[in-house]
Subunit: 257 residues, 2 copies
DNA sequence: TCACAAAATAACAAAAATTCTGTTGCGTTT
DNA sequence: AAACGCAACAGAATTTTTGTTATTTTGTGA
């Protein structure tokens, strides 16, 4: 077990337990307390937890939930198959918009498979992945950088998006309840809305576990999207709601071999 | 001498000689030919040279001259002392604009020394260096990414800049002749002009060897800048021209200990 | 076209550099 | 006073770099 794995394991514990004990961790991983200290220092520096005397805690639901570096680790498989399904909608030559989020980052990086493309994004991970790639015209929206969401937001972003147009816009969201889509952050809601307005067709990407949840701000009615893409089937109640609203739901896992 | 140093030395040789001999390099650096092979492979992969049988060459003046990865290595000392001089003009709390180019990249990264700051830039290297830094509000202009110049340009960039304002704008340029400033690329001239227009005070950064040169497009009259910063004294004719035009010239090297 | 020498590459092993860990000692906190 | 956190050093484990050898490719001239 390497250092990164151990740190990830500590994060897993933090999620389920809410707090970890330093001595306990040292025993569990069979390393010295000093090593655990260093791991916790790193995690704290990365902003995903807080060190306390004798261990560490996580202020659940707050900055932790929203830390991209951690989210990027989660559910990579689920995100990959959703990206696969989204990719099927893209044809070479198109102009594609990609919003913030780790899901979108994975999809963005895989857009090279459909070159040539024009890609418009405010997602820093996508910019990094695509710059330097031939056959991709990369347009960054600009904006104020947010370390929390690893992307660019604010008035600049919205103004830029209002002046652009894309064939497809992929929007991801952390909460869908009934026929409404939510996000906890107002700034990001604004950016996503601007992107939706700029896309001829817009698709919503949602992890199956995010159905039946809400967040502070309403982002959109689900009917504003061409279709909804998810990884595996969400709970029946959500499916019913979508069916009644005549929304097309693509379950990516069922498409594959 | 480490690997990177050796590769840089090989590049230096390539600049002066135009071509290098593999066997000769192996002797000169007292390493095996295999090691040189690997160095050349790396340099070729980085796109700064071409491997040929028995050595390597550089297609001088073409893609090489314009490759930012290589330029970033050049004259690091000169750029650092210019950055030092420019930094002296920045006070915490200010809003600072940084344009494209490797000189600007070095200055941009060192802006952390003056936190807190708001930094507006279209330079990808600056964005990478500053994102994640606390105390820096980072605003990217957005725009179409150019691998050649490692930055963002075009209509989006210009539109964004026209809606922003900064206390100081640092503009770098590759050619100054008499009282006129030049750049070879039209797209970049546009971005630089937009940035100049958005800065309350604008400063020009020019390497001393770039005086007395022209390029295809005129960027500005030198009188449009508050002052000109260079590394060491340029040739007398250029100094005379600046003096007569009553332009303030800061020679960074003369400021230091 | 063919042969052959020189060069390029691949694969493995040794060496060097870097990263990771544990220990110890000392100052802090409870 | 006991437990904890932290800094500094040293040894261990990894990763990167390098050299050697074997094999393949390339260019040249007959």
């Amino acid at each position: 077990m390497k250092r990164e794995d151990r740190k990830q394991a500590i994060m897993d514990l933090l999620i389920s337990e809410g707090a970890v004990d330093l001595e306990d961790l040292a025993q569990r991983f069979a390393v010295s307390k000093m090593t655990i200290h260093r791991d916790l220092d790193d995690l704290e520096a990365a902003g995903v937890m807080r060190k306390i005397r004798g261990g560490g805690t996580i202020d659940a639901g707050t900055q932790f939930e929203s830390d991209f570096r951690f989210r990027a680790q989660q559910d990579r498989d689920a995100k990959n198959i959703m990206a696969q399904a989204a990719l099927a909608l893209v044809e070479p030559g198109m102009t594609v918009m990609i919003n913030d989020g780790s899901m979108a980052a994975i999809l963005g990086a895989r857009l090279v498979e459909k070159r040539p493309l024009t890609v418009i994004t405010n997602n820093a991970a996508v910019i990094d992945a695509l710059k330097g790639e031939g056959g991709i015209t990369l347009i960054a929206t600009g904006g104020a950088y947010s370390a929390k969401f690893n992307g660019f937001f604010g008035m600049v972003t919205e103004a830029t998006l209002s002046a652009l147009r894309a064939d497809i816009a992929f929007i991801s969201a952390p909460a869908v309840a009934g026929v409404e889509v939510f996000h906890m952050d107002e700034t990001i809601v604004r950016a996503k809305r601007a992107m939706m307005a700029a896309g001829t067709k817009t698709y919503l990407l949602v992890h199956h576990s995010r159905f039946g949840r809400t967040a502070l701000h309403k982002l959109a009615d689900i009917s504003e999207f061409e279709a909804v893409i998810t990884d595996t089937a969400p709970e029946p109640a959500s499916i019913t709601a979508l069916t009644q609203a005549k929304i097309s739901l693509t379950v990516a896992a069922e498409q594959e071999g």
